[in-house]
Symmetry: C2
């Protein structure tokens, strides 16, 4: 911590290093007793260049001794291939979901020597256009276009100037590669949590907003019941605005159904329902068992009792998006690549 | 949407565009009837080059007609100045706080023609080292080193190879520029919300973990009471683990204090306290008024009743960090730049 440093903002601050000036290729050449051209060839992995193993070793030693940092941008230009992957996210600031997509995409990108150029748009078309233009100008290898909740999108035209993968979203009637959560399997899994606890009469509080989650989770709920030999009863499917207020508002209606368990469209609905049930003097899970969906940070693990739920695999969506972009995984030719939603059992069932 | 495009991962996919091949500088030169060198000079704003206004205009027209995208990396190298600002974040995936810092930093960076290189470390030192090395290799203008909660840090040595600003954290006994929330003003503001509602006997549930928030918010609470002519009573200061479980656990102890209002260290503590008070049959705010801190997404606005709180200014921390890095704002020579925490009145007081 003793190193003296310039204040940020100083004109030559970006040049400031331990030695006062940055280590140059010439410094490396002198230390290694070779030409600058040789250093450049070694540092940039110019296969064509004929360089003795001994000289090559001396360059590598000098690079590490002096702490020389090659210029990744120059490398990109000389090799002609960018090491950037763009990631457009629409809600970094409002949910941890986008952050988990970034985390997964970054871990996978780094494995393959790529760096993420992340742009947050908060859904603003102008910011989106600027973000994609910026990425194209940086000659990204491709772009992950991601949304914080699973939905159909019309990808911006500019995306088609490069490779792209839709993450947590998809384009209707299109071959555009996409990676999305498996809503049907997720709904099936949430319902199974309740069935496996011995409950037979199970309600489903679905969302009022039409989405792949609305249809997919319902189908999974239906499938799990039928598989358990329970007849599907549409009267047990309620609808609520997909947040705490919606879950609270539907409480009275739910209680008339006399169910042993309820699968909530998401954890926020479950949180609101907790409040409603408490006001009716009911205890979870003794009086009614509850399963959520999302495994939302800050909420799911901290409700009283902690919520049994199903996790949205945002980390894996980001990682899979990168693998599809780089051609390591391939998206199915028809429809998006589905990523499983794992169960997270806690104490509400 | 009719444009045919290659699947992501195709070898030459990164080259794919509307016309099947990317628009080159040569295409622009032909369309404009000038040399490639002239196009390069115009596109890269080479002031030195003497180019007629007419030719310059023809180049600009051709660029927009053909949709040519200049290579930002080449531009960076030729101008010698990078347009990157690095942002290291330690918890993108676990709270929306980091996302709000990114949002603010990006908006401010874009204003000044800079692009963010974001790296998520989840607090892993190896990931942190790799992230900073990556940024240095991209010749970033500087780095914002950010943490998701306000704390003292020892910045990684590698940061000192460039300009950096600490965001939501600081280095003890150091001149390293830092931007942090004003905990004292925030604690003062939260307490004022309760005082202004006419409450006089007010408890403070502080955190058990020592931090600038622990000391700062207590000082603000103390200051607000004294200013209101109320004697500070240490017996009214409780401690709880800073989450829902901690707030719930302290309920009985709080009720013995017989207070009209309580300022909770954060919104999560308030959320747990809500549960505890309900179990005792108490109604908020009728029986006891509650103020939180953080204005945490997904929680604060959605509790029953919605929580009156004070916002952590993460967006503004990110934006201010960029301004300090670029020398637009200057951090005080002694101690970090303090960013105010605004009140967010709702229905719990």
């Amino acid at each position: 911590m003793t190193t003296k440093r310039k204040r940020a903002g100083s004109a030559d601050g970006a040049e400031s290093g331990h030695s006062g000036h940055p280590v140059t290729m010439r410094d490396v050449a002198e230390a290694a007793g070779v030409s600058v051209a040789t250093v450049s060839n070694v540092v940039n992995d110019k296969k064509s260049a004929r360089i003795g193993a001994d000289a090559r070793q001396r360059v590598h030693d000098a690079v590490s001794d002096l702490g020389y940092r090659p210029n990744a941008l120059a490398k990109t230009l000389s090799s002609g291939s960018s090491k950037f992957i763009g990631l457009v996210a629409d809600a970094i600031a409002t949910t941890p979901f986008a952050g988990q997509i970034i985390h997964g995409a970054q871990d996978e990108a780094w494995k393959h020597g790529f760096v993420l150029l992340v742009a947050n748009t908060e859904g603003d078309p102008a910011a989106e256009e600027a973000a994609i233009a910026m990425m194209l100008e940086h000659k990204v290898r491709g772009v992950l276009y991601s949304t914080w909740f699973h939905r159909a999108v019309v990808p911006p035209e500019a995306l088609r100037e490069t490779d792209f993968v839709l993450v947590d979203c998809f384009e209707a009637n299109s071959v555009a590669p996409a990676v999305v959560p498996d809503e049907v399997q997720g709904g099936y899994t949430a319902t199974k949590l309740l069935l496996d606890a011995g409950h037979r009469r199970i309600a489903f509080i679905n969302t009022t907003s039409s989405s792949p989650a609305q249809t997919g989770r319902l189908e999974g709920y239906h499938r799990a019941l039928v598989e358990a030999g329970i007849e599907f009863d549409p009267a047990l499917v309620l609808e609520a605005h997909p947040d705490q207020e919606g879950g609270y508002a539907v409480t009275a209606q739910l209680l008339q159904l006399n169910v042993a368990g309820v699968f909530c469209h998401n954890d926020r609905v479950a949180m609101g329902l907790y409040d409603g049930l408490r006001e009716h003097g009911l205890t979870i899970p003794r009086d009614i068992a509850i399963a959520g969906f999302d495994n939302q940070e800050v909420i799911a693990a901290h409700l009283r009792p902690p919520l049994s739920t199903v996790a949205l695999p945002h980390y894996e969506l980001g990682a899979a998006g990168v693998r599809v972009l780089l051609g390591i995984d391939s998206a199915p030719t028809a429809g998006p690549l589905l990523v499983a939603c794992p169960p997270v059992p806690r104490a509400s069932i």
